[in-house]
Subunit: 174 residues, 2 copies
């Protein structure tokens, strides 16, 4: 963990798995305890800023890859990035990895969908149940589990603080 | 011109008007003579990194607005941005301006199309003439001239160095 070697921690997982929470907490930790410059990129936040981004496979792909480009540019300029994106397909995560290069750290936020559904922080599972939305990742849209992520965080078994420690351990031995 | 108040110099104009050249030279000037942190965002470069971005109006819009988001994030982190994008429609430049806010500086790179066609640095006008491409801005696709840009640079009348001076003058009085 070194100010001259910024990385992008790329949190992927189901809606409600804890990506955004961990991305925000980890950015705070890196800033406060390690004195690093950080930026959070949150999938929904980026969508709000850009507008008109749908949920087709190509829309999702472009959303992920153009956000990866932003992360790349921030890293290039010395900023650590924590990025929270469902990024459901392996192929699009591979594109993000190829774009960002060795600074890309895939963090699989693993959580059973039954737990995600109970948390439902954005009300998406309820909206799906009520027939208001379709194309919900993990329900009627695919989520391809990472095969070889750098870090796995089981957010139903571990506290947020334990998850942050696990990331710190990884970054220290990197 | 102040390291704590980074801006995005947004160069818009026809293909071959000199956007990329001026964006690169201006970034170099800000870095070397003013000690500022800079990044160049070039429309074609971003397209190459992201892939799969077409030339429909919506594709162009999203390309411009997601690049504006990258510029916004870089500004937020203290980096001056010079951005070279044809960005042919007023509405998409307004979206970029709204996203970036008061840091957005529109630089209209004005040059008669006859001159751009002679320069043709990317061979686009020739490709169009040979029937290899369509949708070329200024030829069979619209370019909406900026109504009230912060800076206008007539690249057929002024040298690159004169253009850079004009930008510096603007930034000093800003």
């Amino acid at each position: 963990m070194n100010a001259t070697d910024p990385v992008t921690l790329w949190f992927t997982g189901l809606p409600g798995s804890g990506k955004t929470t961990l991305a925000c907490l980890m950015a705070e930790r890196l800033r406060q305890q390690h004195g690093l410059k950080t930026e959070v990129l949150d999938g929904d936040g980026v969508r709000r800023m850009i507008g008109g981004v749908g949920y087709s496979r190509e829309d999702r792909r472009r959303h992920v890859v153009s956000s990866a480009f932003t992360a790349f540019m921030l890293n290039k300029n010395g900023i650590f990035v924590t990025a929270a994106f469902v990024s459901p397909y392996r192929s699009m995560r591979k594109e993000a990895r190829d774009l960002i290069g060795r600074r890309f750290v895939e963090v699989f936020v693993e959580c059973p969908i039954s737990v995600c559904r109970k948390r439902d922080p954005k009300g998406l599972y309820k909206k799906f149940k009520d027939g208001l939305i379709t194309g919900l990742t993990g329900v009627d849209d695919p989520y391809e589990v990472p095969i070889d992520p750098e870090i796995v965080l089981k957010t139903d078994d571990y506290t947020p603080d334990e998850c942050l420690l696990k990331i710190e351990e990884y970054l220290k031995t990197r």
